[in-house]
Amino acid sequence: MTLSFTLRVTFVVSVLVACLHIGQAWAGPHSTAQAGSQSGSGHAVSFSAEQVAHGAQIYAGACAMCHGADLEGGHDVPDLGTYFTARWANTPIDQLAGYISRAMPLMAPGTLPPQDTAALVAFLLHQNGVISATDAPLPMEEARLAKLRFPVPSASSVMGGKP
């Protein structure tokens, strides 16, 4: 009786502590931090802050009108946040860069120079909580991108400490 009561109280306290986060209930699409270096197979993913900033700029001008300011997508346009992460996790990054350069922006496909595509990929990774392994920029060459994989959300951040 006493034991279970103590357990219960401890539990309630931890739940209360958890409830303190309620104020942040409306975080963006990126809820879980993922370390690029934890990417399951392949090499650690790195991108530079300049790429992220440049990508953000292109995104705002050429992508946000359809995919939303917060990458949320909509009823008729795919999101580039949580669902996007699930769709692309573990895929070689050259495929994502290739898709963007061939197919996006939808009204002018094939118009993005390689450095803009790389910047957009860096921006998308960053917005989805991927932490760059080093300051090195994301490469533009297909062959080098093919060795990198879209990072899987890290187990510890998703599964509450369970590996």
Partner: protein, 416 residues
């Protein structure tokens, strides 16, 4: 904001949306507020039979209201990733698909293929369906199925910013999130229009008034300083504290029209007409459950008593949709009950419209004529706040029905 926008916005907020203070105003002012309906477009109105001796059911419900807006963050408890989706106030039906889309996104990002959904109210059910549509394998764990949940004790119409948050506590970021949810939901509901049994439908909603509606009616009444605010007392104290976001989506929500002179069939001086989206609970609820089962969904009847009960579920991701019950089950004391009551008369398909008059609302639906006294005491958004007496009040039901009944006693059928 332009006056017309203001007007359209607050009307779009729907039946329980906004406080309407009736004040003397010039007809010119009201004429400036909206487009006048084209002559001849008002159908012949069949009066509704609204009498207390026709009551077949009185439903009472507590809106799960959180000052900061619904809870939709991710927590790690009992070895599970718990994605919360509860606390949608008086807007749960309206926002359901948009809220589900956001919650399921968090679940999908875990890359788990199997998810558990706690709760089978409108939030749990739409979360479960949305998860299936994202390719996930879903089991609903719930104490009750939809017909016994608080969800079906609602009014059941498009009211996306009814008691959804307090402006101050929710902050500007939530206004943006609200807009995304509302737009996504509205578009998803269109998928269910025009189907057999009309699960989702529209009604012309007539907003009636004996005095001129004016933009001033829709300006929030300044808070009574002596009463304080939520920030100083821990409870909302005035209508002015409640968030109004409807103007953010006025580009996709049909606007009201004024009914001029001879075109106004009602025995009141002022009438406006707005197409209103409604939910026919019976047809819609069955359709959603059917879709869930057809897609291979499973339902397990189970009640959870403490969060640690989640530990023995086979799924590692849980979408938590318990509605007001989160106050106890998840110990979320930020949930404030907002009581509301609807009474139901037999269906009157010959009178397919809705109206609002003197704080009472009527919607003629396929599963009954719903009458709700949403603001009969001049309390505005404060009506029912903090009241958890979830038990029918027959006198209140009769008072609301009498408002509608009295209107039609004075109603004169037009010739032709």
């Amino acid at each position: 904001m332009k006056r017309r926008d203001l007007f359209a916005a607050s009307l779009a907020a729907g039946i329980m949306g906004s406080t309407r203070r009736v004040r003397a105003a010039t007809p010119d002012a009201s004429a400036a507020l909206g487009r006048t309906a084209l002559h001849g477009t008002i159908p012949r109105i069949v009066p509704v039979r609204a009498h207390a001796d026709q009551i077949m059911d009185i439903k009472v419900c507590l809106r799960p209201f959180r000052p900061a807006g619904p809870r939709m963050d991710v927590e790690h408890v009992a070895g599970k990733t718990v994605v919360h989706n509860y606390g949608h106030g008086g807007s749960g039906w309206s926002l359901s698909w948009g809220a589900a889309y956001m919650a399921v996104g968090h679940a999908a990002a875990t890359l788990e293929r199997k998810v558990a959904v706690v709760g089978c109210g409108i939030i749990g059910l739409t979360s479960a369906l949305t998860a299936q549509r994202a390719g996930l394998d879903v089991t609903i764990y719930t104490r009750d199925l939809l017909p016994h949940t608080r969800s079906v004790r609602a009014n059941g119409s498009w009211t996306p910013d009814s008691r959804i948050a307090l402006t101050q506590q929710a902050g500007p970021e939530f206004a943006r999130t609200w807009e995304k949810m509302a737009r996504y939901s509205w578009q998803t509901y269109r998928d269910y229009l025009g189907m057999p049994g009309n699960p989702i439908d529209f009604r012309d909603n007539y907003t009636l008034s004996d005095t001129a509606p004016d933009a001033a009616d829709h300006v929030p009444v300044p808070a009574d300083a002596a009463k304080g605010t939520f920030a100083t007392t821990g409870m909302p104290q005035s209508s002015a504290e409640f968030a109004e976001y409807a103007s953010r989506i006025s580009d996709i929500i049909p606007a009201p029209e004024l009914l001029a002179g001879a075109d106004n069939p009602f025995p009141v001086a002022y009438a406006r007409r707005t197409p209103l989206m409604i939910y026919n609970f019976g047809a819609y609820g069955h359709l959603l459950l059917e879709e869930f089962h057809q897609a291979g969904g499973r339902i397990v009847i189970r009640e959870f008593h403490t969060p640690s009960d989640l530990a023995d579920l086979p799924e590692r991701v849980v979408i938590n949709c318990p509605g007001y019950a989160a106050r106890d089950w998840w110990n979320d004391k930020s949930l404030i009950p907002v009581r509301g009551q609807t009474s139901w008369l037999p269906p009157q398909p010959e009178a397919p419209y809705a109206l609002e008059y003197k704080g009472a609302a009527m919607i003629s639906k396929s599963d009954g004529v719903m009458i709700q006294g949403y603001d009969m005491y001049g309390l505005g958004e404060m009506d029912g706040v903090g009241n958890s007496f979830e038990h029918p009040d027959r006198a209140e039901a009769e008072k609301a029905i009498a408002i509608i009944g009295d209107l039609f006693t004075r109603f004169q059928l037009r010739d032709g």
